[in-house]
């Protein structure tokens, strides 16, 4: 059980839970609509070529967000 940033979640089969979004309100609101809400389980799907957006699975869907956004979202690993 440890805490990390979402951008550090880079392996499959490791589940985590979103704990905090350290972002301005407008971005936060946008992410809320996609289901990025504290308490939501999240897992890693893929990392795009050229250091591009990272894709995650959450709430039955797959969402890709940029690295700089993922680096502002705090998570807690689940054992």
């Amino acid at each position: 059980m440890g805490t990390a940033l979402l951008s550090e979640l880079t392996t499959h089969n490791q589940d985590a839970v979103i704990t905090e979004l350290e972002l301005e309100d407008s971005v936060k609101e946008c992410l809320f609509d996609y289901g990025f809400v504290p308490g939501t389980p999240i897992s890693f799907l893929a990392k795009a070529p050229f250091g591009g957006p990272i894709s995650f699975r959450l709430r039955d869907s797959k969402i890709a967000i940029r690295h700089d956004i993922a680096a502002k979202i705090h998570i807690q690993f689940l054992s």
Binding site: V27, Y34, P49, G52, S55, S61, A64, I65, R66, I69
Partner: protein
């Protein structure tokens, strides 16, 4: 004034199946309408609910909440309170909203439904996408869900049109019930409410869950979004798409061309000699023909994009290309418009509406005219032929080189415009979030129908512009007499400007005519240099000299200069018109046009003089 009918609004998250439902409900009677002042297309159709009652059905762009965040969400929200602007409805607000719920990802969608319900809209829902992989897994029990939410919910299966008659019955019943007008949409939710709403939603989902979502073992995304294989797949999929657009459209384009070359002399014969006959056959029919020739390509482009869209790949492509594009100020969502720009800039500019950031959208609109559109292909074809003759290997290599260098050149130009003319004001967080839809096998009939409607929309938009201009060019090249037409006079006037490009006034005329449509450059050169002997075209062009001298006109330097000119120059009036509409400013559209023409000229002169 058309008879007023009740208005039914289809609302739901993006990709929840609204348009599929719309197509089923309205059969083939639907059309696309440009909502005035907006940037998004609504789908409007009528649906027969019972023997005596017809209703309007309005398909809306997907929204995620009632707090608008982007332009298209705002526009959808307008339809909630001003549906009478769209259809001849007796009330301002819709008589019924059908919320389309995607059974595959329900929990995220219920908060929107709750917001609509709290505002007092007459509401019902349909639960779609319950059947995964052909098997009918009812993930959720619609009756429990309906009881928990307090609104009627009908399960439907779109591919088989199952549950549609039940849906129509419930729609009739709901429309017959009196309802109060809904409240104004004020600040509805704050962050805590959203968290609470999602928690509430998850509890309801759990209570009405009938079976677990089956785990899918194999996931294409592990490969198509892979840091290495993703890039490889991207390359192969794009190549396939271009093959489809450029190769498959050819027979249809040739067919239309020969159809018109049969019709035009025939019309000429029937109407006899005189200016009227010439105006109809050359000016008007020629104008229509030059639009219609590109229709197969446009249809195939929409079709190919529709295939990619419904398969789910476009979202993956946008993810893969986001990083390279953001280096020059664009966005992953610029990918689709730029891709369309390789066939035609007009639909491409319309597609740019989906880009969330204003700056990235503008830069994309600026970059689209620099993509190698289909009208440039015959021009490059001729110029490469002049350079390498029949050598197909070198010619092929040259064409590839032209494609690649125009993408590179466009990136440099946009990078410079972005850095020096449109600097990022303050650091705002980059906005690129995209939901990756589940993979689907595309339904060909739906894709073809939607491509057909988009193509019709294109014709209605661009047709009048191209036709009107065709008549003008016809008049300029006909009066006062074909041998001493105004356009020749213009050619002599502009000759001094063309000297630095290494060409004379005759090529200048062809360049001038190319402003009607780029491919006109080729036919004009034929007309001017070989005077009706198309077989001698290349020979006469290869040996063409400046008037009264023995200096060769088409040297490698001047040919290269012309290629560079066509790469950058914006000669398409239809593109300027659509750019004005999409940028919302004549100044910007005309500034871009003038800028690209001057830059094209400057680069061509540099190439010719520096060679």
């Amino acid at each position: 004034m058309p008879k007023s009918r009740p208005a039914v609004l289809l609302i739901g998250h993006p990709n929840s199946g609204k348009t599929s439902l719309f197509n089923i409900l309205t059969h083939s009677r639907h059309k696309t309408v440009n909502y005035p002042g907006s940037t998004i297309d609504y789908g409007i159709g009528t649906c027969k609910l019972s023997f005596e009652s017809d209703v309007f059905v309005v398909d809306t762009p997907g929204i995620r909440s009632l707090l608008p965040k982007t332009l298209d969400e705002e526009v959808t929200l307008k339809s909630l309170y001003h549906v009478d602007d769209l259809v001849a409805s007796s009330s301002q607000t819709p008589d019924l909203i059908v919320v389309v719920l995607d059974g595959g990802r329900l929990s995220l969608q219920l908060p929107l439904l709750k917001q609509l319900k709290d505002l007092g809209f007459p509401l019902m829902a349909c639960l779609s996408k319950q059947d995964l992989e052909g098997k009918s897994h009812a993930l959720f029990d619609a009756s429990i869900l309906s009881e928990k939410l307090g609104i009627p919910i009908v399960p439907v299966s779109m591919p088989k049109s199952k549950g549609i008659s039940a849906l129509k019955r419930v729609m009739s019943a709901q429309l017959a019930r009196p309802h109060l007008s809904p409240k104004e949409n004020r600040q509805l939710a704050n962050f805590k409410d959203m968290m609470a709403a999602l928690q509430w939603s998850e509890e309801i989902c759990k209570a009405s869950m009938r079976s677990e979502k089956p785990k899918i073992g194999f996931d294409l995304d592990l490969y198509l979004l892979h840091p290495f294989w993703g890039a490889v797949g991207f390359f192969f999929i794009m190549t396939g798409l271009f093959w489809l657009i450029f190769a498959a459209a050819k027979p249809f384009m040739n067919g239309i061309q020969s159809l018109f070359s049969t019709i035009i002399p025939w019309v000429h014969m029937i109407l006899g000699a005189g200016w009227f006959s010439q105006l109809v056959s050359d000016g008007i029919l020629g104008g229509i023909g030059s639009v219609l020739i590109f229709v197969p390509q446009i249809f195939l482009l929409f079709f190919a994009l529709g295939l990619l869209e419904s398969s789910g790949y476009l979202a993956r492509g946008a993810v893969i290309i986001d990083r390279p594009l953001s280096a020059i100020g664009l966005n992953g969502k610029s990918f689709v418009p730029l891709l369309s720009g390789c066939a035609c800039a007009i639909p491409a500019m319309m597609a740019a509406r989906t880009i969330p950031e204003k700056r990235a959208r503008l830069l994309t609109l600026l970059m689209i005219p620099l993509m190698t559109c289909s009208a440039r292909l015959p021009v490059y074809g001729l110029l490469v032929f002049l350079l390498f003759g029949q050598d197909s290997f070198k010619s092929g290599l040259a064409m590839t080189g032209i494609y690649i260098s125009s993408v590179v050149l466009a990136s440099v130009i946009i990078g410079v415009i972005g850095k020096f003319f449109m600097p990022q004001k303050n650091h705002v967080h980059s906005s690129f979030q995209i939901e990756l839809p589940p993979w689907h096998l595309p339904r060909i009939s739906n894709v073809a129908l939607s491509a057909f409607h988009q193509t019709i929309g294109f014709c209605k938009n661009a047709g009048p512009i191209i036709m009107g201009l065709g008549v003008c060019i016809w008049a300029l090249s006909t009066y006062p007499s074909p041998d001493h037409a105004y356009i020749f006079t213009l050619g002599h006037w502009i000759e001094p400007i063309l000297k630095p490009m290494g060409v004379d006034g005759r090529v200048g005329i062809a360049l001038l005519l190319a402003f009607a449509a780029r491919e006109v450059f080729v036919s004009s050169l034929v007309l001017i240099f070989s005077a009706g002997h198309p077989g001698e075209l290349l020979l006469s062009l290869k040996t063409a000299t400046f008037l009264g001298t023995t200096t060769l006109l088409f040297t490698p330097a001047t040919i290269l200069g012309l290629i560079v000119f066509f790469m950058v120059s914006l000669q398409c009036t239809a593109t300027v018109a659509i750019a004005r509409k999409e940028m919302g400013s004549w100044r910007m559209a005309l500034g871009m046009t003038a800028g690209y023409i001057l830059l094209a000229y400057g680069l061509a002169v540099v190439v010719v003089q520096g060679f």
